[in-house]
Each structure stands twice: as C-alpha cells, then as structure tokens.
Symmetry: C2
Subunit: 325 residues, 2 copies
C-alpha cells in the first residue's frame, strides 16, 4: 500500500485544503491563523520496535526522542514551542515512570512543557507527541517550498551521528563492540559515546531554526528521514533541483550514514545570502552552518559530488514492523 | 498500577506546573498563553479493542469517534477548534481510506480541519487526535474548578444513548437483536437507531459549550467517563459536593446507562444563574439545558435522589485490554 509519504499524500488529497496564508499537511508543522504569531502544530509518533529498539535503548530514551522529534518540527519552521501533549498507549507492564522521566527531561531541556496527555492500554507501546508553537516576530514560518534556483544549501552541523550511534549499540548488543559503549568492562572512545548519545538523546535545533528564519532562510527542514531524502522533500516542494558537494560527517559516522541516516535533527536550509546567514549564526553564538551545495533550476538535477544521488534516505516502512534506522 | 486517573495524576506531580493564568494537566484541555484568545490544546487516544470494538463498528466510525472525542474537550472549555493533527499507528492491513473517511467526515461536521498527521506501523490500531483551539471573546475558558456551593448543575441533553447503542450493537452481534439495528432483514425502532448512531457517530457540543461560557457557566466538563464520574471530577476540582435529582435519560437507554455510561459528549456545567443560562441557550436556537441538581458546600455530599452515589462511572482500565464501555 505504498510508504508513509504516499499514505500522507493520499490523506492530503482526500481532505479539504487550507485557506490562503495557512499551511496544512506536507510541511514540518502545520501553520494556522493569519499574520504574525501564527500557531504551529505538529504531531510525531514513536512506536517501540519501529522507531526505537528497546533492546538497545531505555524507555526514558524513547520518551526523550519522542518529544525531541516533535519539537524539532517546530524548530524546522523557525518557531518556538509553547507546550506538548503526550498520548501513551502501551502494555500494562510499561514502566511509565521511566518513560515520563525521559519525556520530562527533554521537555525541560527544550523549554517545551508537557501540558496534557492521554493514556490507554494497547499491545505495543505507542507514544504520540503533539507540540504547539508559534513564530515570534520577524519573517513568517520557513516552509519547505521557498527554495529558489541559485540559493545556497546549508546544514547546521555534521550528520550521521544518530545512525552511527545505533550501529554501535547494535554491535554492542551482539557482543562485538560492548567496550565502545561505556557499558560492561571497557569504556569506548569519546566519539563513540557522542554518537550513542546522539541516538539516545537527540536535540532539536531551536535557536538555529529561529536564527535562520530571521536571517533570510527561504526553505528549511529537519534531517529526520536522512539528508538526501529531506533535501529531496525541499526540492519537491520548491520545484528546484540541487547540486550538493561536501557534506560534513559527524565524528564516528560514515558518509553513507551522513547522507542516508535519519534522526540527526540538524536543520537543512536554503538562502540566497549564505554570508548574511552565517554571520547571524555567529552573532547569536551558534556554530556556523556548513554550505553543502546549491539549488538549481533543473528539477531533475539531483547530484552529490557530481554524481546523481540515489534515494539513500529511507521512509517508515508502513507495512513492515522493522526498526527503521 | 492504578487506573488512568492515578497515572495522569502521577504525571502531573512529576512535571513542573504552569505559570499563573495557564492550565495544564487536569482539565478537559490545556490553556496556554495569557489573556483573551488563549490557546487550547487537548489530545485523545482511541485504541481498537479498548475504546472501540471493530467487530461492532466500522473503521470509519472509529475515526469519527476519535476526532469527535478530542473536539469535545475543546467544547467543554467553551472554545472553538482551529485544527486537528491525527497520528495513526496500526497494522499494515488497516484500511486507511475507510479510517480517514470517518476522520474527514467528523472534521468537516465539526468545522475542525485536519491539518497534519503522522503514520506508522504497529500491532494494534492506535489513533491519537490532538486538537488546537481557542476562546473567542467574552469570559475565559471554563475550567472544572470553578463550581461554587449553591450553583445549579445542568446538562445539555439526555444521557445514556452511547451506552445503549453499544448494548444494542452487542446484542445484534450475538444474534439476539439484529432486527433492532437496521441490519439484516429487519429495521429496528427509531429510538434504537438513534442510540446506535450516538455510539457510532457522536457529536461534540461546540455551540452549547460556547453559549454556556458566555452565559456565566462557572465549571464545565463533557460526559466522556459517565455522568457521575464526570460530575465527580468537577466536584473534586472545585472542592464542592453535589446533590443530583432527576437526570434526563436518552430514548432507549436505562437510568444506569445515563448515570454510568460514557462517551455521550453532552456537557455538564454549573452556574449560579440557571435562568440566564437557559435563556441564552434558547436565544441561540439551542435545546434548553436540563437542571439536574445543585452544588453543595459539603465536599463529602454526593447524592442522587437522596441516596449516596456509587462510582457508577468507569475509567479506562490501564492494565486491561477490554472494551471500556
């Protein structure tokens, strides 16, 4: 029955569309209401066994990741979160205290209070986090659809750490890399620990998203499906092609992980003025974004280092129960 | 590990509380932001086998009920819905078109567009609907905590139809009442059909909630857990007792179903001036609410027709997978 993207596209077509000035299905978050201070709403599912392997990470990690992933969608619009509601369905044996501990930790760290929720029994653990936020002064929310030919493409940091962390955790679980994780008898390298933490405790780039919006970003998305998949979403929505060159790879990660691994939650954005945008990041005390390529007028052009990009990003396998990363 | 209410109370205690003027966990919807036009956010889970029995109703009914239940929480604050996001986790075999059909129907009927969503595979079908709304002029959102001794208690309509409809559907499924449902060879009574539709396609009382807010309701809640349970929530939050007299019973329903059955989505509210409130309903072209009793100063007083009320309402059995109604 097709992948997640196809199913969401089908839902979009089945439902009435938004009035002028609003954005509904198809961006990182929906935009409601006219003018400044517009309401952002986004929802994100985390299913044990699909989005997180509880043999590798804790319930508190799952909770943290669920909240951070939803907040990241607000970051990708250049917005600020106002609050989250958390719906939890799961087996009665679920350690709710541990799950809520991770949710509460991420909520506090991201300045996004948990303001409500619902709870039910179910066979699998399913956590649905919805975040409401707003855009505070300056330009409106940054959509996926605003990139123009000639715009530079930048990323807010090196990629692939989340996928590398998952690989290290799997190796440790299969007994081939336990020392790399700080578990058991040995302690792994700093890089390995960093990657594992990137998988267990990802961060939404709120300050980066807001700074990019104020400094003239034309399109923005968070790296949740994988860099090439997410740049592809922007290209599709904007009607542009792209030519990527060097991509920064996180310590301990491979280039494949940087291009295809998801859930890094760095932001990818386009702008006609990368110098102004970079200066704004530095002025705000943020790490300078990295220029990774350019938008082009030929919508069929999708290359990295001169070669056509394969669809290295993945989508959630609606139809399979496998862990997706 | 206690019921749903205990788990939510534990979550509330584990998390930081709201600043003055905001309401987080514990009411029908959370209230964010100061002043008029405050943002309402609420989330509601519908799990196949827990909240809906797919042997008795269709996936479209489940979708309709999921959206209506979340919108009802906005109605119970006296607010208007701005949009819903819908997260669906379920088996790959799920007929998404049928599910979305019911969701879209309820969205259109309630004036609450679906503006976003997420989708994942999972063992059970879990639908989490989050609605964002606002309060539009006049007094602020009506909380559960505002009832005062001497206030009248009113309900916006007769109760028990949802529970009666479920009973009729079960009887039909077991072969003892098929004719009552308009299925198979016979057609049941109009009352029976009405009850079945109340279960399959409930409505949120948005106009009633807004009218009550503007006409001086001091506390309000929707009947989702059952009248006595929900009046109990108001009494707990407000620090009052109650003395209920006659309760209007929906056609085809029993008094037990009216007192204990949930998911009717009528609103129960308190006001010091039931005449003014009733006049406002009539002026707005709405069915006059029914006075069912009074709030009292003795928090231990909880009676109906002079007798102490048992806890006839139920709560979701976190720990059991049974259909709850």
């Amino acid at each position: 029955m097709g992948g997640e993207f196809a199913a969401i596209e089908r839902l979009r077509r089945a439902l009435p569309g938004p009035p002028a000035g609003e954005v509904w299905i198809g961006d990182d978050a929906a935009v409601l209401g006219p003018g400044q201070g517009r309401l952002l709403v986004t929802t994100d599912l985390s299913v044990a066994g699909v989005h997180a392997d509880l043999a590798l990470i804790g319930l508190d990690d799952l909770g943290w990741r669920a909240l951070a992933a939803a907040v990241s969608d607000v970051a990708a619009m250049g917005g600020r979160p106002d609050g989250a509601v958390v719906a939890v369905a799961g087996p009665p044996s679920t350690d709710l205290d541990l799950l809520y501990d991770g949710i509460a930790g991420a909520a506090q760290s991201h300045g996004c209070p948990v303001v409500g929720g619902d709870l039910s029994s179910a066979g699998d653990l399913v956590v649905a986090v919805t975040v409401a936020g707003h855009v505070d002064g300056g330009p409106g929310p940054v959509l996926r659809s605003g990139a123009r030919p000639g715009d530079a493409v930048l990323v807010t940091g090196p990629l692939g750490a989340g996928a590398a962390g998952l690989r290290l955790l799997r190796a440790a679980a299969s007994g081939t890399g336990g020392a790399a994780l700080g578990t058991g008898t040995g302690v792994g390298s700093g890089e390995d620990l960093q990657a594992v933490m990137a998988h267990r405790r990802p961060w939404a780039r709120l300050a980066e998203g807001e700074t990019a919006r104020r400094a003239g970003a034309t399109a923005m998305i968070d790296v949740s499906d994988g860099l090439l998949a997410d740049v592809g979403h922007v290209a599709d929505a904007s009607g542009v092609g792209y030519r990527l060159e060097d991509v920064p790879v996180a310590p301990g990660a491979t280039m494949d992980e940087a291009l295809g691994g998801g859930e890094d939650y760095e932001l990818v954005l386009s702008t006609p003025d990368p110098v102004r945008l970079t200066a704004a990041f530095v002025d705000a005390g943020l790490r300078a974004p990295v220029l990774i390529g350019w938008c082009t007028a030929d919508t069929a052009e999708r290359t990295r280092a001169g070669k056509p990009t394969m669809a290295l990003g993945w989508e959630h396998p609606w139809g399979e129960g496998s862990v997706r990363t």
